[in-house]
């Protein structure tokens, strides 16, 4: 019973973020799986993707009228995004995450503030 309730809460919150903002489900699901359902980090990460994928397919379908207006952009970003994903996965093994995380975090906060005021 308690588990079903947790499944519902995690699913509903991450799904709403996914649908409304078109991103960010993982930010909620990964820590939730770790803290509330006690999955180890690796498993939490993999399981989160298997939750976000079906959710994203539904959202992407409902967003089709938006991305269809920028077909060329979508294609270019998707292609190079996959190449980048491959490079990123390889780099992960070589680099310590800390410096990158901090640079990433600061860029995010700058972007966030710019988006708020723009």
């Amino acid at each position: 019973m308690k588990k079903t309730f947790l499944y519902a809460v995690i699913g509903i919150i991450s799904g709403l973020i996914n649908g409304i903002l078109g991103a960010g489900g993982g930010t909620v699901i990964v820590p939730a799986l770790e803290h509330f359902l006690h999955l180890p980090q690796q498993k939490a990460h993999a399981t989160a993707i298997s939750i976000i994928l079906p959710t994203t397919i539904v959202s992407a379908f409902l967003y089709s009228k938006y991305w269809m207006t920028e077909g060329k952009t979508t294609l270019i970003v998707a292609l190079f995004g996959m190449a980048g994903g491959f490079v990123g996965a390889k780099m992960l093994k070589k680099l310590s995450g800390k410096t990158i995380r901090i640079i990433f975090a600061i860029s995010l906060m700058v972007a966030g503030v710019r988006m708020l005021w723009n």
Binding site: T4, Y7, I10, G11, G15, L16, I17, N18, G19, L21, G22, A23, G26, T27, I29, L37, L39, Q42, K43, A46, T47, S50, I51, I52, T55, T56, V58, S59, L62, Y63, W67, T69, E70, T73, T74, I76, A78, F80, G81, G84, G85, V87, G88, A89, K90, M91, L92, G97, K98, I102, F104, A105, I106, L108, M109, A111, G112, R114, M115, L116
Partner: protein
């Protein structure tokens, strides 16, 4: 110039998500701030872009036996229903407001990343 920015945005957010940090919080601001793409369109591009990337990642995780489908399936079922409601809400909320909500998410993820980095150091 625009093409180069697109390539850079795709590569960089792909690298970030390959490293296990959400790529959307990079890609969406890059598309809206540097290329002037409307918020909802940028969100749609990010959703679509996630699908092939996630499939590749999942096959690797599946081989390594890291998937907990018993946990994933019920959460995904609730997630799909909520995402449909969310996508409907996004269609009625003006892009300007969505952008502000998204900005808050971006700042939150940034603070969270610093928290994780500091915690790891200890």
């Amino acid at each position: 110039m625009e093409l180069m920015l697109l390539v850079a945005a795709g590569l960089f957010s792909g690298m970030i998500s390959g490293m296990g940090i959400g790529g959307g919080v990079i890609l969406i601001p890059a598309l809206t701030l540097f290329l002037g793409i409307e918020q909802k369109v940028a969100q749609g591009i990010n959703l679509l872009y996630f699908i092939p990337t996630a499939i590749v990642a999942l096959t690797v995780h599946c081989k390594n036996k890291n998937l907990e489908l018993k946990t994933a399936l019920p959460i995904a079922a609730f997630g799909i229903v909520a995402a449909s409601v969310g996508a409907y809400l996004a269609s009625v909320i003006p892009s300007v407001i969505l952008r502000k909500i998204f900005a808050l998410l971006t700042i939150f993820v940034g603070i969270n990343e610093i928290y994780i980095a500091v915690k790891k150091e200890k």
